[in-house]
Amino acid sequence: MQRWTTILFLTGLSIVLFAIITPLVLGQSPMLVGKLINASAVNDTGAANLVTAVVLAYRGLDTLGELAILFTAATAIGIILGTTDKTQTTSSPTAGFIVATAAKVLFPLLLVFALYIILHGHLTPGGGFQGGAVLAAAFFLLTLADSGNNIKHKVTQVIEALAGTAFIVLGLVSFALQGVFLQPWLDKGELGSLFSAGSLPLLYLALGLKVGAELANLLSSLANVEK
């Protein structure tokens, strides 16, 4: 029965998708916004990665809203699960010798990779959200490998608060300098070099640290409940 409903659902979905896709001409965008951004984003922001130009420059306020959503979700989970620092049950099994050793080797690699994704967000695919997720995974791997080694909630909360404040302060400085909130500022620099695109890498750094601290916090509260 369930198999037939799945097949029915997939058939319906493919018909709907087909009906949406057929009138579109391949290789031509029906949206004018895309063409406009393709033409002017490099001059406007100096970011080689146009996705970053859209996420942080054209729609910076939207990204601030996404940060607020993530913050709300993390706070809600924190309230529901509680900060279970007191209930340290030592009965949880260890992850074993292999995972513990591998985590020690992988942790620095993951850290470097996360910072690479965050700092090159304006040059290559990736950025604050993706790098932050890798950052959180790096710290969570340590928690998984050694169940006594917990993420310090106080430290992550301070990092999260400072990074969130930095994001808004960067926006406010732009307001003071140019009269528009979250407008890119600072020198655009040479296209494609590490120090380019003005304030966008700084925004992504704040974003990455905030997302990383938030997700690490969230994962470690979940892991504490699992015990």
């Binding site: 099994p93 992850a95 074993g96 292999i98 995972v99 591998a102 080797v105 992988l106």
Partner: protein, 96 residues
């Protein structure tokens, strides 16, 4: 040169396909881990070696990726197998 690469691609893809098939067809979770680890690791490595014959200047990157795969894939499967074993999932013992 490119023909050798194509042969590597083909054999790698066959191994990847067999790994995916094993994930569906194998009778219990430990057997599925075998399929998912061994076949998929070999398939990915063969595909990456195929890339080497197309772009020989990428050998450094490819070596690093292969080493990373050889290191992480067994670790993750051993963690999975250990978690299943500790949670008391029994081994399939039927034989034909």
């Amino acid at each position: 040169m490119q023909l050798i690469g194509d042969i590597f691609f083909l054999s790698g893809t066959i191994f990847l396909f067999l790994g995916a098939l094993g994930l569906i067809r194998m009778p219990d979770v430990y057997n599925r881990i075998q399929a998912g680890t061994k076949a998929v690791t070999l398939g990915s490595i063969l595909t990456l070696m195929g890339i080497f014959f197309y772009f020989p200047q990428w050998w450094g990157h490819l070596c690093l990726i292969i080493l990373f795969l050889l290191f992480t894939n067994p670790v993750s499967s051993s963690a999975l197998a250990r978690a299943f074993y500790r949670n008391g999932i029994s081994v399939w013992t039927k034989t034909k």
